[in-house]
């Protein structure tokens, strides 16, 4: 991938103490077009329906997700262990608004807005993918802020646990949602029954909502699973938007407020940073990116299945952020691409039979998460600032004691 092109940035000294030479501040932004152009031409070197381009597309979707989590964990310093919730909400938005799931809607003729071709004749709600994206962003932003609310009074690891609990609750609702009949909802049951029919459930549980509508771009041939190049470019288009927003927001007043809160909450509040609003915006922004990626993956993977939304996915995304470097945008891009390829290609396709070759009785895929766990431990002990560290964050991670005392083990041993 294009990651080789980021090599100059690894010039930061291995110890993270002082960079031997530093790139000028505009360099990382100037790199955006280079990155986008290089990544955009890559599919011409791949077969259009092969696994390589499939994995590359997945990697791009993960980049969006990791950049979203980076806003919450990297910029604002709020450890979110329930990020999968936003993947789930985004994916279900796609599933609800872009499939035949609500088959009874509009007397079984369906609702169609902005869709053409095959999907426009099917029952169910079918909105154009980009319209669904708007809804996904809306829903996940609201959900992100709601999840943020109870954590406002809390700090540090308590936030991690509350967000984890939320992620698990959403996962449970996704799994058990096939037992919830919309007609049985208190108060609204009658209205919902008239709209969605008597047996309409909330989610499809482990069975999954499938098939999901393909992305529908006006004036472009319909997307198919045989030619993945259009999928790839749409993902790249989303990555471009998300990257742009990330850089702009990070350098804005809001982004600086996040960093100030992360470094020392008491000092930041004393300087007039509105802590509640700033934190909620961090949750909301991070969640919105997760929703975009979720809706995209729902369409790309052609299924919205409750089994996708488990705790380990949150850790997978967190692993991408940590591997690349907390708070470092290019680092997170690199981390997401690396871990995505490790997850979807290296472990299942290349190394899978390795233990068997040594006479051991298991596959590599079985211990995927032990590998991630090991990666997290090693990264935290040996290189907590990540592969491409962000200068400021690296200083916090390696010279922790010199910055805020509030977020540290104060004088612990």
């Amino acid at each position: 991938m294009s990651t080789t092109a980021t090599a100059p940035e690894t010039g930061a000294a291995p110890s993270g103490r002082r960079s031997r030479f530093e790139l000028p501040p505009w360099a990382e932004k100037a790199f955006i077009p280079v990155f986008l152009v290089v990544v955009a031409v890559l599919p011409f070197g791949m077969s259009s329906g092969g696994t390589l381009i499939g994995n590359a597309t997945l990697a791009l979707a993960y980049v969006i997700m990791a950049l979203g989590l980076n806003v919450v964990v990297g910029f604002a310093g709020l450890l979110d262990l329930g990020y999968v919730a936003f993947f789930a909400i985004g994916a279900y938005t796609m599933g609800w608004l872009g499939s035949g799931f609500f088959a009874e809607v509009n007397h079984q003729t369906g609702v169609h807005i902005g869709v053409s071709g095959f999907a426009s004749h099917l029952p169910g709600i079918h909105l154009n993918f980009f319209l669904v994206l708007v809804f996904a962003v809306l829903f996940t932003t609201i959900a992100g802020m709601l999840i943020g609310l109870p954590t406002l009074r809390l700090r540090g690891d308590y936030i991690a646990i509350v967000t984890l609990a939320f992620g698990e609750i959403i996962g449970r609702i996704a799994v058990n949602g096939d037992e919830i009949k919309l007609s049985g909802v208190p108060l609204l049951g009658g209205v919902l029954e008239n709209t969605f029919g008597k047996d309409q459930t909330f989610t499809a549980g482990r069975q999954g909502i499938t098939p999901v509508d393909k992305i529908d771009v006006p004036f472009v041939d319909p997307f198919t699973s045989l030619n993945l190049r259009p999928w790839y470019w749409v993902a790249l288009f989303l990555v471009a938007i998300v990257l742009f927003v990330n850089f702009r927001v990070r350098d804005s007043r809001l982004g600086r407020a996040w960093i100030a809160l992360r470094e020392d909450e008491v000092a930041a509040v004393a300087m007039g940073v509105p802590s509640v609003k700033t934190k909620l915006l961090a949750y909301g922004t991070g969640a919105a990116f997760g929703g975009v990626a979720g809706a995209y993956l729902g369409s790309f993977l052609n299924t919205v299945n409750a089994d996708q939304f488990q705790f380990y996915f949150s850790i997978l995304v967190l692993g991408m952020v940590i591997l690349g470097g907390l708070g470092s945008i290019w680092g997170v891009v690199l981390g997401a691409i690396t871990l995505s390829f490790i997850n979807n290609w290296l472990i299942p396709d290349v190394l899978n039979s390795l233990p068997g070759d040594f006479g051991l009785d298991f596959d590599m895929t079985q211990i995927t998460f032990a590998i991630y766990g090991f990666l997290l431990v090693i990264m935290m002990i040996l290189r907590p600032q990540g592969l491409l560290p962000e200068r400021r964050r690296a200083e916090e991670m390696t010279h922790g004691e010199e910055t805020s005392s509030e977020t540290l083990y104060t004088a612990r041993a």
Binding site: R155, L164, N176, S275, L326, R412, A413
Partner: protein, 354 residues
């Protein structure tokens, strides 16, 4: 946050009384919702009486004993290093696995006589405890000690990492599906029946193992020199070090004790549920953590109380709402506690949860 809340606390707004009431009793009211609603349901329904709630309570206490043992591990560790030991649930799981493996090795079966069975269990208990305790100490040494001066995020992330590693160890050890183990104590066998409330072998085992262990531990922490060192380190590590306390050893000891209790919990769990699997630690860890927070993290009595309450809530939910919803309900409680009273039932206001 503190800066913003100071003026609010001094003003005498009309909502202040309500806010004080919520702060004081909100959590207790939230906790009472489920038992009260179900009690009213039972009394008004034709077929049930309060014995159903009584059965929930008994099963809740014996399950709660397991959660209490695990929750103490969280609370002790949090009290001393202010870290949520995320891998603790997995330590509990490994305790179950060690216990199950050892019971199979020494050849206890369902046909073993009562006397021999008790001897066997008495040998297994320290083995499981030691296995888990040493594992927990090792985790501290490898994953937390190098990061003591790092930001808090770092050890929490290594804790999550270790939790995954241990889960996969369990997965390779016993396979990916739930495994039945011999029902040595016939855990569901009804021993006593008090007007419809059944007390089974498993309940007796849970209480008989937990209470002596809790007593031994509180005595150790309250009376012994090392226990004193633990309390001193929890209060102020620097001052403790100046007084000649070896802080590193004391922290290791805390992890050892926490791990040992989790191992005992693992043994009870294996015998009570008669199934074990590699994923049991994840849920158990979160449930026990909820218990520790409910009681007030850092507070041992609180952890025990929280364990029993969570056990009761779980049983009611299993029995009446559906076992598939139980984890979600426990997590809802966790969030409610965080909203209403992050310091828990018995805890004091701390910096983290203020």
């Amino acid at each position: 946050m503190e800066a913003a809340s100071v003026p609010a606390a001094r003003s005498t707004a009309p909502g202040q009384a309500v806010r004080n009431f919520i702060a004081k009793y909100g959590l207790i009211v939230v906790l009472l919702i489920m038992p009260v609603v179900f009690a009213i349901q039972d009394i008004t329904s034709e077929t049930d009486n309060l014995s159903r709630l009584g059965n929930n309570l008994v099963a809740g206490v014996s399950n709660g004993a397991i959660w209490a043992l695990v929750a103490i591990g969280y609370t002790l560790v949090y009290g001393i290093v202010e870290l949520i030991n995320f891998a603790h649930g997995e330590v509990f799981m490994i305790g179950s696995f060690v216990a199950a493996g050892f019971l199979a090795t020494i050849g206890l079966t369902q046909d073993t006589g009562t006397g021999l069975l008790i001897v066997g269990l008495l040998i297994t208990l320290p083995v499981a405890m030691l296995g888990s305790g040493l594992l927990n100490t090792m985790i501290e040494r490898v994953a937390y000690r190098p990061l003591r001066s790092a930001p808090k995020l770092a050890p929490l992330i290594t804790a999550v990492g270790f939790s995954f590693i241990l889960q996969n160890v369990g997965l390779l050890w016993r396979g990916g599906s739930q495994q039945g183990i011999p029902d040595l104590i016939r855990s569901q066998h009804e021993l006593i029946n008090i007007s419809g409330v059944q007390i089974s072998n498993g309940d007796i085992l849970a209480v008989c193992v937990t209470i002596p262990l809790l007593l031994a531990m509180t005595t150790f922490i309250g009376q012994s020199r090392l226990g004193k060192a633990m309390r001193a380190t929890a209060q102020d590590p620097d001052a403790a070090r100046l007084m000649g306390i070896n802080v590193d050893t004391t922290i290791s000891l805390t992890f050892l004790i926490g791990g040992m209790l989790a191992g005992a919990g693992g043994l009870i769990y294996a015998l009570y549920q008669t199934t074990i699997w590699y994923f049991q630690g994840f849920t158990a860890g979160l449930v026990a953590f909820t218990a520790a927070v409910m009681g007030g993290i850092g507070n041992i009595r609180g952890a025990v109380l929280g364990g029993f309450i969570i056990g009761f809530i779980q049983q009611m939910s299993d029995n009446r709402i559906g076992a598939e919803w139980t984890p979600a309900i426990v997590f809802v409680y966790l969030i409610l506690i965080m909203v209403f009273k992050p310091s828990g039932l018995l805890g004091e206001e701390t910096r983290e949860a203020g």
